[in-house]
Symmetry: C2
Subunit: 454 residues, 2 copies
């Protein structure tokens, strides 16, 4: 019988996270404060606990994963690496397609890989409560779960329109004991200001961030958590790539191409960095390795954004970071159904794309969902819309292999399942989805608002 899943045992859960900062050809550019100088850990200590800030700034190659975190990881890790044999057969490709399936986590995505250590380090540092923002709820539900695992109360500011339209992710967070507020609330100054301006405000991710940060900054016992973009989040996600490497080794393979969806960049860094390090180190196997970040044409950060210093949030509260950005006041169009809506991208991923060690690709929405449905019908798993972006690129790559006859090994990141996104599949299946290419002029306009540096 062809083995379709390559499993590892609990003891194979990585003992260390891999920090690409140690191996980057050029040191990453630091985030800057309002004074144009690199921000100090002190400046961020009001909202993040010490161990998280240490990891954020660290250049140490291997960072130990605490036993308490590995014990929680063991609930679903090592996640399976699966051979997409039926998809290969349906495409008639000589390529071997493998997917690392992160949808097996309790929250259904890769997000708990970072939510669990973030909750752990906060507990360790004496944090009394966590805050965060969430849009559709994937990160919110992960931190609700992780907080519960360490007995840490969690408050989630959920964009009001999602709170009303996606009640099931909210129920999931509440089942795990989190308090969920429809943002804007009257609990914070930011929320009250927004409500004064528009009592019917549907909210926005930027506003929800402001509320969560404001609560954390105002109370020494409260810390803020973030689900992507920052170095420590990418660090935590490297368990994906480290396990995948071990699993491919079990069947004597090494990837020719690694493909992952990319929004804030954490799952992409997570799967790519442990392999990219081989390429940087001159490992023969990785000589021709390509790592491809896939994003939507309606939010084309890496492919059409500027590589520049910009704020991490819409309101300009955060330090500025050097990254690919569409401008911090960029708003993805309403017709976009597939996640990956962040205006910027992880500074680490951005710099490595800029230095041509990583590639980026944008795919249109309708073809993305079509790929997701093809995958579901071949492999049985209904992928998250985010993951569908990678699948589109994987199928295209496999079809190129069919044309050239190359038996490439393709590894991709199936970051989550689509159980809470069936509404988007419904819109696709009933022909209601459209493609949208974000206009270059609009990007040029929003890039005019980039902050001045130095």
């Amino acid at each position: 019988m062809t083995p379709l899943r390559i499993n590892l045992e609990a003891n194979d859960i990585p003992t260390h996270w891999y920090n690409i900062v140690a191996d980057m050809p050029n040191a990453p550019l630091p985030p800057l404060g309002r004074d144009g100088k690199p921000v100090t850990p002190d400046a961020m200590s009001a909202i993040f606990p010490g161990p998280i800030l240490e990891q954020e700034m660290s250049a140490q190659r291997w960072i130990p994963i605490p036993q308490e975190v590995r014990q929680i990881y063991a609930q679903w890790r090592p996640s399976p690496l699966c051979r997409a044999l039926r998809l290969e057969q349906s495409l008639g490709t000589p390529a071997k397609i493998f997917y690392k399936y992160e949808g097996v986590s309790p929250a259904g995505s890769h997000k708990p890989n970072s939510a669990v250590p973030q909750a752990y380090y906060n507990k360790l540092a004496g944090t009394k409560r966590l805050t965060t923002e969430t849009g559709a709820g994937q990160w919110g539900s992960s931190i609700a779960y992780a907080g519960q695992m360490f007995g840490l109360p969690v408050r989630v500011y959920m964009v009001k329109v999602s709170y009303q339209q996606k009640p099931f992710r909210r129920s999931m967070m509440q089942t795990w004991g989190a308090e969920v507020f429809a943002s804007p609330t009257d609990r914070t100054q930011a929320g009250r200001t927004a409500l004064a301006a528009d009592p019917e405000s549907p909210g926005s991710l930027g506003l929800a961030i402001s509320e969560a940060v404001e609560e954390a900054a105002a109370d020494p016992g409260v810390c803020y958590t973030l689900g992507s973009v920052l170095n420590h989040v990418l660090l935590h996600q490297t368990v994906i790539g480290l396990e995948a490497k071990k699993q491919l080794e079990k069947v004597g393979l090494y990837p020719d191409v690694i493909i992952g969806p990319c929004g804030g960049g954490s799952s992409f860094g997570g799967i790519a960095f442990p392999f990219l390090s081989d390429k940087i180190a001159g490992d023969k196997r990785a000589e021709k390795l390509r790592c491809v970040a896939v994003e939507p044409t309606s939010c084309p950060t890496l492919t059409k954004g500027a590589y520049a210093y910009d704020f991490g949030d819409v309101s300009g509260y955060t330090p500025i970071m050097k990254m690919y950005t569409l401008g911090h006041d960029f708003m993805p169009p309403g017709i976009h159904a597939g996640g990956l809506r962040y205006h910027g991208d992880s500074p680490l991923v951005s710099q490595l794309v800029h230095e041509k060690l990583l590639e980026a690709l944008a795919v249109p929405q309708v073809a993305t969902f079509a790929a997701g449905v093809d995958f579901a019908r071949a492999e049985g798993i209904i992928p998250a819309p985010e993951s569908c972006h990678a699948i589109r690129a994987v199928i295209d790559e496999a079809l190129r292999c069919k044309a050239t006859g190359e038996p490439k090994t393709i590894l991709f990141n199936l970051t989550g399942h689509g159980h809470f996104d069936m509404g988007s599949f419904d819109r696709y299946l009933s022909g209601q989805l459209e493609d949208y290419e974000y206009p270059v002029e609009a990007i040029r306009a929003s890039l005019k608002h980039l902050p001045q540096v130095g």
Copy 2:
């Protein structure tokens, strides 16, 4: 590190299903036709293919699992056996609690264990299309998935009120390529009759069954599929218990108590029978083994029903089967949120309960969801409402162990995840659920309509 998951490899997927019929102290009573005589395979061949009918009637102990089925099973099987260590700790019980987690299947429950072989045998027998009915959609989505795996078109008659209120299970079926109709339809005589009587009819499971059976009976190329109750469905589900046995052996344990939710009985038979056979065979390890089927107090088939011949469907189209039943015109109350709504139960499970080889227990709704939330908060997995019934009984058993100090090994069937049932959790969390004990007088009344035998 305490191993929380006991995994098996693809080669450990069982090679044979276990048929309890071979080992029952008394041969099972046959289903009877309208003439009061045992039904022949011929009488059912209009709606079921030959290999399925053979399995339905078989007394052979071990029935080989075709390689093609094992290959599809390998997508998610062997399913993990997990130690509920955090739940044990939160209860302070000396009991060891293990759960077999069937929510890892593509459709999120144990149902594909039977949907896959049913689709396979239909394909083999030359069936051109499958029909079935579905309420909330758990079975419908499983057969949609399984049909897709073998290139077999599937038509699902979905109870109209569920079709309208639970669109996401419908989208899931459509994503897997199935046609889904809101029942009653104007496609069948049964549907047209219902619509003539009430154009706004919300539909019922009984009516949807009639439509699916009618389409299958009218067209030689079309066969009908059923997700529980019948012998062949229980047979297929024994992969659950066979794997669990091997997994417990890996850690040197044998269960003292096996607990599972029970509606039509297929998942319960699936986990219990491979262990019950040891008890029947006089195996020392199984001497004190208890197998407990858990049902809702609002649909208390095994605990308050009569052990009698009754129809399998509401309309009285099917052969009559000897089983625990509340009467085929029983309707579970509208306030019931937790599944397991069938008026009868598997004839095999019923007979073994009647012969005191299996036990049954009914649990009230609010305490059932409370147990589900306790489990979610301890273990991270949000259980299907059906599975919550087992969890209620498990927690009660573990608390008894705490009182007596007995370090029992408890095995339970976590039959699925609750991702498509968050609406019910929402109702629980917001205090809208109530308990409901089905009144004895009402059961007495519906039992008056049992068919006359002989």
